[in-house]
Symmetry: none
Subunit: 133 residues, 2 copies
DNA sequence: TCGATCTGCTTGCAAGTGCAAGCGGCTTGC
DNA sequence: GCAAGCCGCTTGCACTTGCAAGCAGATCGA
């Protein structure tokens, strides 16, 4: 399977994993210990030299407390809008694991973020994409 | 030969794939053509002799019109109880009107809310470090 | 009966994953 | 000084994924 990596997905998982590991204040060996994945391999994955399998990604997701889906999407093995085409609002409202108050709070935050990220209607050029590290 | 496989996960995907292929009335070569996966490999996967990667599973899911998550769960690379949280996270990730930073922030808040609203803490995995503001 | 064309299956082999062992560099304590 | 403890990184190798090529059997029309 030669075709892969639209827009640097391999590096993307690596960057994301590195960022999350730093945020959790874990060394490579600590994370390796937590996940059962060897530390040299983690090193290579973070630098984009290797493509971790879904099993490894799952272990990493658990240890770093991020959603496995997020990792899969960044690894390019899960399509975000494949069956996630429903809106954020509907998904939140339908989520049984959230209290009603938290649903409302989440939707408020969502609306606020959307307003912030929305490009100015006046500006002719539309830059919805952005790079930021 | 048969190495790992906790609880027959490999055979499980194979059985499921065979069933779905039969239901779709497709031959091995037809499905191979649709997915870009070779037919001998599909044959081995269906009989549990090989463990398909997530990429292959994704292609199969598309061609057979079943959810990729279902396949991942059966392949043992996704936890079933994560499925409930799937829709919100995917919807957020798929939302083009949010910046990457805001997506992450929103997901963090969502995860935090979920933890607060959770009825009972599961005592399955060890909690490594809990930094919470 | 022969050939064409299906069905699924077996077999090497290239490419890739993941790890044990070991490397050099940096801090700490003796 | 110099051992002990971290940190991340490199290398060589076992094992797996996935495919091209080819196999035997079934079914069709000529």
């Amino acid at each position: 399977m030669a075709k892969l990596d639209v827009g640097g997905t391999v590096g993307s998982v690596g960057d994301y994993l590195l960022e999350q590991r730093r945020q959790a204040k874990l060394s490579l060996r600590q994370l390796a210990d937590l996940t059962g994945v060897s530390n040299p391999y983690l090193s290579q994955v973070e630098r984009g030299l290797r493509r971790p399998s879904a099993e490894v990604l799952q272990q990493l997701a658990k240890a770093l407390r991020v959603s496995a889906e997020t990792l899969y999407v960044r690894a390019g093995i899960l399509d975000p809008d494949e069956d996630g085409s429903r809106s954020v609002e509907l998904a939140v409202l339908a989520d049984p694991s959230l209290s009603e108050r938290h649903k409302q709070a989440l939707l408020d935050i969502y609306a606020s973020f959307r307003r912030e990220d929305a490009p100015e209607p006046k500006t002719s050029t539309d830059p919805p994409e952005e790079e930021l590290a």
